[in-house]
Symmetry: C2
Subunit: 315 residues, 2 copies
């Protein structure tokens, strides 16, 4: 199979939302008047972000999901994506399953694949996602103010616990394992939540590097500090898990793709209504304060000492 057949067979779909899609030197897109274009790029590499034998369907899902999560954190409506992939070989079975996983999630969010590149090399995937957000309405990292509540969506630490289980660093009970592996392999980008928070949240970020690292980005950009109550962080896991590992996964584990956002106390009932409407838990875990840095307290330990705040590819 040639490179062009491969693109035609697995990656060329109708793109009614684009002026011109796959098949020319560039795609042509129309950004609606009054809208800003939100753009984000992520790269997933075999051996770094996933195991070489990862299920290609789930990998197709995750490759797009991590990008959708970035648009969710901006409150943008996802519209278009490009996909660059380097492959060791043109394995049609792998490509069929990868593209099926990719397009299943793309269809769910109305995203059109409008371009890309296919080349031979180590397995490496890069998606650029583009979306629209009304002028001035994007959720940035920089708007948190002292007194704001800090909220998170969903459950934290699951993806990191799932990875720890796969790596033999812990043995999760079956019910917990199922949730954690689902979080790791098939994260659900919180696009609807991002849209709902546009006029509510003062800042937002997606939790890809770990809660403390990502909240840290909000604090840095907002020139503020935070106080977080460890016991309030939603995990959905009662106990019976190695304590230091659990703590590490909840506070610093990456790959959760939940949103962390801030909002003033007056917005609490609106946020609770959003949670109800979306069927997605939204939990207050602390407060923005003046100063800098993040203090984490638990009933058991008092002020907790945190060594690593999140994943860093080069630290």
């Amino acid at each position: 199979m040639s490179e062009f057949d491969l693109i035609q067979r697995f990656f060329t779909r109708a793109t009614p939302g684009a002026i011109l899609g796959v098949g020319d030197d560039a795609a042509l897109l129309h950004v609606a008047e009054g809208m800003e274009l939100a753009v984000s790029t992520d790269m997933l590499v075999s051996g770094t972000h996933f195991l070489p034998d990862a299920d290609p369907f789930l990998l197709g899902h995750k490759t797009l999901a991590v990008n959708l999560s970035d648009l969710a954190a901006m409150g943008a409506v996802p519209r278009w994506a490009t996909l660059a992939l380097s492959l060791p070989a043109a394995d049609t079975d792998w490509l069929q399953r990868f593209s099926t996983g990719f397009f299943a999630l793309a269809d769910e969010h109305g995203v059109e694949l409008v371009g890309g590149d296919t080349t031979r090399g180590p397995l490496c995937l890069s998606v650029t996602i583009m979306g629209e957000v009304p002028r001035g309405k994007a959720l940035r990292r920089s708007g948190a103010e002292a007194g704001d509540d800090i909220w998170v969506s969903g459950m934290l630490g699951h993806a990191a616990l799932g990875l720890a289980h796969l790596q033999g660093r812990t043995e999760l009970p079956e019910d917990v394992r199922v949730c954690c592996l689902a979080a790791l392999h098939q994260p659900q980008p919180r696009v609807a939540l991002g849209l709902a928070l546009r006029d509510i949240a003062s800042s937002a970020i997606d939790i890809s590097d770990g809660l403390l690292a990502d909240l840290g980005h909000i604090l840095e950009r907002s020139h503020a500090g935070a106080e977080v109550k460890f016991d309030e962080i939603p995990t959905g896991i009662a106990r019976a898990i190695d304590e230091p590992l659990f703590r590490h996964c909840v506070l610093s584990g990456g790959d959760d793709y939940e949103l962390c956002f801030t909002a003033c106390a007056a917005k609490r009932s609106e946020i609770e209504a959003v949670a109800k409407r979306l069927g997605l838990p939204l939990t207050r875990i602390g407060k923005i304060v003046t100063g800098q840095g993040c203090t984490v307290r638990s009933a058991k330990d008092g002020v907790m000492t945190i060594k690593e705040s999140g994943y860093d590819h080069f630290a």
Copy 2:
């Protein structure tokens, strides 16, 4: 050095042309009214597109150049780029030189780096370039009509000859070698030409996979055939080079990043004026005809038989 320091030090520059640049979950861009957004993605992989010990300055240049070339072929003004890179290690000297090469070309074309991703893995680079083109004015592959002239910019085959020389498949005379290695390592995207051709050309493509392969894309999209005169193809090389290799590089060699375009005969003097204004040779090499496929004739061989039409990563 942490991942965030690395991004801050080497890849964060002022982006006055963006609403929001590097440092949030997504960049925010404003596409001017009346403009379409042109978007293209390319991926370069060590061992496939360049040698592992490639000069990082030149690699930074080329990573962006191949993308700019795609926008040139659309007649779009380059505006913004994202860069995803996977690196075996955070080698500050390498990063300094790579980013210097990248930004030197970016500055030349007014392109702002607005986002990206940095991760550990095999050396792999992916740029998504975005530009603007007035509504309906983009140069597509699909507009060629029987009777149109076929034109190319610059000299063809140089990059492929340079590569053949580096691989020991031929020994180029010194003057030729200098041009060929420059074409291979530091291609000049024909952005100004693309803009000048907006109201002149009926179709355009950049020659990245080889003349016959890329002209073939125009023919396929335009439902037309072509007759090309081999002796008219500009190479700037007189003789004394292995004949089959020379022919192969000129017709099927990739990596030239010149433009191939079509225009009706009435546009000849306008095109010659563009060539003069830009100081860039533009040469008529044949004609679009009805039917399909491309026939190449030379004075010496009559109709030439071509085995491979261009580079294919998986054929």
